[in-house]
Assembly symmetry: C2
Amino acid sequence: MTLYVERGFEQTTVAEIAELAGLTERTFFRYFADKREVLFSGASSLQELMVNAVRDAPATLSPYDAIAQGIAAAGEAIGPGHDRARLRQHVIDANNELKERELIKMATLSGALAQALHERGVDEPTSSLAAEAGIAVFRVAFERWVRGRDDVALGVVIDESIATLSAITHREERYA
Amino acid sequence: MTLYVERGFEQTTVAEIAELAGLTERTFFRYFADKREVLFSGASSLQELMVNAVRDAPATLSPYDAIAQGIAAAGEAIGPGHDRARLRQHVIDANNELKERELIKMATLSGALAQALHERGVDEPTSSLAAEAGIAVFRVAFERWVRGRDDVALGVVIDESIATLSAITHREERYA
DNA sequence: TACGTGATGACAGTTAGTGACATCACGTGC
DNA sequence: GCACGTGATGTCACTAACTGTCATCACGTA
């Protein structure tokens, strides 16, 4: 991570990382499937957290509100680490391969959330659409939070974005 | 493409592609930035099509409806090629690197659509959210269409998905 | 006919990632 | 206290995706 920040992702070789960490390249690849995965080791636990939140949400909640609970849980987990998130995102945004990896993590997450909705009795395509919409909200909210001021809480931005999406898809309200 | 279908993406080397096409590896890499890009050469023209549709949509349309026009345009362009789409998607789904590339193309598209909304006078974060939601709809609809029966038109699936997302994000209607 | 230009080939080099085997530390059962 | 199985690490050889550089070649033009 230090190296990625200092000289960028592409300019850092696995050999350098391994040397700095005091192990061989081969061992590095035993811990991480590839060079990119270093930055995404936390993704699976975040996914677990969100899926649990959806699963444990009150049965009376709509799919969209259940997903909102999951996103809120992610917000609470990430919220405190604004500086870390900003640094990490800066590295990712500077490199296309890393962006790709981030996107596939999001897509996997979306699939897991759809599955969690399934287990709440929600049918296709409602489950997939609600999950995808939730991820869309999370993506936009997270980006705004990372680029925004330090004192605006992630949870607040998320709530705003959830409401905004509802307003957008209400076709009749503000437009002809 | 023939080779990717026959033996899979990973099992196909650039050397083989080059030989089949009657040129050298180096020349292959002059036409395609990398091995994956072969399957996504049409992405930029599709993006252009969608952006134009959004730009040229009646000014009275809401952001969501303007995006819907863009998606409909994509539906018309892709719709006739059901077999080709199915084959291509089969190759992509079998390989994670290709899925990543597909996702970043979608993300780029989302950004372009958000930009097109901007030029219609739509503010952030509404523009990004509407674009992301539109991509979410497109993603789900496209997948359903590819996996579904031959005689169901893509346009129909898209319209259904647009309506379903509206219903989902109407929180009060069908749930407590 | 000489010349500039754009496309291609030839070739060497870097780096990510993998497979196979050796080694080594360490806890367990005897 | 010692043999032994096991999991983590090192070593080495190898493949394949890319990249940089220079040579070559076809072709339209002055």
